[in-house]
Amino acid sequence: MPEDNNSVVIENLVKQFGDFVAVDRISLGIRKGEVFGFLGPNGAGKSTTIRMLCGLLTPTSGRARVAGYDVGREPESVRQNIGYMSQKFSLYNDLKVIENIRLFAGLYSVPSNQLQARIEWVLEMANLKGQENLITGTLPGGWKQRLALGCAVLHKPPVIFLDEPTSGVDPISRRQFWDLIQHMAEEGVTVFVTTHYMEEAEYCNRLALIFRGKIVALGTPSELKRDSMKGELLLIECEPLGNAVEVLQSAPDVIDAAVFGNALHLVVRDAAAAIPQVKKYLSDHSITVGHIEKIRPSLEDVFVSLTTERDSGKERKA
């Protein structure tokens, strides 16, 4: 696998806990300046993989290089060359803005001759010049996010890990934040994102979906929506809605049926063929169809399709 352009290279990475294989031979190459998203149900091996990539957990076998360092043999060097930002673990709410910045500068050993310049840079980037003495906990949502990002990159790491960085943030602040991320990526920073928010997944250049320790899909958001969905998606408005789901679940050629708001979403093998069949099937069961059309799957549809189809029928995770 050519390493020149790849900032992160993962080859047959495995992590086993006793008999349990949490990460089952994952291989990936992530380019410098790429915004790469990692999706997957909780317990699928996502966090374990990320911990290995951050140099926090030793792999059982296989290898990974992050920012040029081997995660198994040089975890310290890996940790010094990455930034990490997560909702649950970032800023101290009762410290002032400037105190948080200084704290993180210390943690990341920013050299004293660069310190002032970096502090200025973070304040500028987070739009907090002149507000250094505000208590962090009082900052409105979007501002805290930007400050947390600034603190995570004080040491100018070439690779950063973001965990649901804009959850709960209003859409406008979210766009501004991702604008910032995209600028950083344009300047060559490699950005690794993990999230359950499909709105965030859409900002990634490529996505990998992990399920039961393996990668089950890899591609751009559009590629995933187009190619990864097992079947095609129909939207159906009908009366009575509740009965329709049960009826359709046992209909031939229907892969899945679920209520979605005031309508039904139906996964079928072939939309064009299914539309007239479904109409007839529903009216045979005294259900009036108002409207039926093929719709584009969302990333969430892809996610669910790929993480439940491997279990026959009703999937139940502990």
Partner: protein, 317 residues
Amino acid sequence: MTEQPQSAIFAEALTKSFPGIRAVDRLSFDVSAGEIFGLVGPDGAGKTTTLRMLAGIMPPDQGKATVAGFDVVHDPEGAKHHLSYMPQRFGLYEDLTVDENIRFYADLFGVKRAEREDRATQLLQAAGMSEFRKRLAGKLSGGMKQKLGLVCALTHRPKVILLDEPTTGVDPVSRRDFWRILYELASEGVAILTSTAYLDEAERCHRVALLHQGKLLFCDTPANLKAKLGKGVLSVTSSDPRGSRDQLEHADGISSLVLTGDGLHVVVDDAARRIPEFEARLKDAHIPFGAIQQVTPTIEDLFIDAVGSGSGASLHV
């Protein structure tokens, strides 16, 4: 706004302020039996405060609210028998089993022992958790914990359920399971008010109310809201998203343009007109692109259109 006799939840001009901030600003809406109503908005928009007022645990400064016909301001105890409130940090006892937690909450709500067992079995089955009765709550996954929380909140057969961001941090598959339970409850006539910051989750509600800084931006079915947008939304797929953006950002007819991971998301005045124009621009500039398609507006598009494309939130100090 006159109260409909069949409103399971009715709020009129609800207002609540905290020092320096108007958290909820003259909020009015109603929810019918069997309806799933979404309160959607970012953190700080006023969702939790609204839910607390409706649950009768925080009095409003002004305004009126009734739940299951009871005035929650003047008779919160009357309302409590018919409602269930599941706050964001729901108190499950990690060292009790699933069964023990349900028993605890059933006792708390005064559910008679005879009923309790049947009810628990039925709810656990609906939640797909029948095999986990003896498991310690602390050992459940995030999604399962949320479902258990919901089961505990339902033992006394409330007519109204108030949920505060019940699926935060829960993966999409578990979220779908959770929603399946909500739809079943709704079909039994329960009124459900749920808050969420996940804009795509808002699409699953029968009606949504978008909150921004304590005020209601709009309230309607997702389909109606999108139809009213009156603008087209385009998705441009391109292997050079930045190049595409540079070419299109000054084109006519655009009200907002966002760089996504593999292209652009553009809101325009007239999709049919602009698609060929944009295609021509990109071709002339030799920018590779896959397709320009019209797509359904997202709730995020509605939100941004309503609030304005943002010169950024100002910092009120």
